[in-house]
Symmetry: C2
């Protein structure tokens, strides 16, 4: 019982900070995109491919990487020449608004109009915590199985865009694409659902267009 009460307070305080972040970024003409998904769904690989697309002006993009302890993903972003800051949660399973606020303070936002937050791999708590983003992109993957929307509904209910990644592996696994899409849309009729293979660099045009501000 105590836990529930405490979480409500934490969430309420968190949402206030998130609202401040969002208002501040909006005023500066900057969009923030929250990248969410299970560990290994391919969030960072999608980002690598999209940011390397010739249609993207990398000087306009900044990335906030969320991880528990390592800076492995920030290294991947730095290698492709994008401004990056690494947030380490020291064990917490999701980013909170005040962590993102600290990350934003470390970033040089001169000329930036799009910030991507590569959240911690988690289908539960990352969906519960607002971080001040204007858009949520959930990267799911075929190898997770098509039961995930119904098992983790909050994630799919709150996503603006659902990317179904690893479609190159469909011939080798049991996965019902139609059921996956139908389940996502039953939870969230306004979700945009796209199929892609970040590993093969295929199907990422819709994300490139989002990042390019089209």
């Amino acid at each position: 019982m105590k836990t529930i009460t405490v979480n409500r307070n934490v969430l309420s305080k968190n949402d206030e900070i998130a609202e401040t972040i969002r208002a501040d970024l909006t005023e500066k003409g900057i969009r923030m995109i929250n990248f969410l998904g299970t560990p290994g769904s391919g969030k960072t690989t999608v980002l690598e491919n999209v940011l390397a697309d010739p249609a993207i002006d990398k000087s306009r993009i900044a990335v906030i990487e969320g991880d528990l302890f390592t800076d492995l993903d920030a290294q991947r972003m730095a290698e492709i020449g994008v401004r990056t800051v690494q947030l380490n949660t020291e064990g917490a399973c999701h980013l909170e608004a005040d962590m993102v606020q600290q990350g934003l303070a470390e970033l040089d936002l001169e000329g930036v109009d799009t910030i991507v937050v590569d959240n911690i791999g988690n289908l539960v708590c990352t969906a519960a915590f607002q971080i001040g983003a204007h858009m949520r992109v959930c990267v799911a993957s075929t190898t997770e199985g098509n039961d995930k929307p119904l098992k983790y509904p909050n994630m799919f209910r709150t996503a603006d865009v659902v990317l179904l990644n690893k479609i190159d592996l469909l011939p080798y696994i049991s996965f019902d694409v139609d059921k996956f899409i139908a389940d996502v849309l039953s939870l969230n009729p306004n979700a945009e659902v796209y199929l892609c293979s970040a590993y093969k660099g295929e199907g990422l045009e819709p994300v490139v267009q989002i990042f390019a501000g089209v």
Copy 2:
């Protein structure tokens, strides 16, 4: 700051309940195994295959299924004729000891010597919460990428057994098996690491032997 203090209290209270559960089960000659892993790593498919093995006496096994809202996995267990109880956390990202205690109260444990807890898909908080189990099995999968042990070290540091699942997909993806095993052992030199494909029903003999009490 408040959150950290509260979590400590919650964890300490949780660990007390877990200790009670473990002592009680030990006295009754029952082992409890905590099955952990990311969403879609194949925990339930591993269980389905292992429980269907002729070497397993299903009347000696009981399963506690953990999920946020659905009973999809409990249905899969019921279909193979194993005593099952479903725990729904209503949104919480991990099982806690008091939830497992409630599940145990609902199970008929007559003749049972092994209880499996099929935990919520999560690489972070599930590892932080003791539930009174005697053994932890982490089901990882090749499609998650070989960087997961270093990115989610608490999970791999506390696992007694690490199953690397979906090895049938190795020809189609980029995954360094040697690095994965080396990273697991660097975090946890005593971990037993096995390779398997639950989808193909291959490599599950070590888990069958654990369940058969060999």
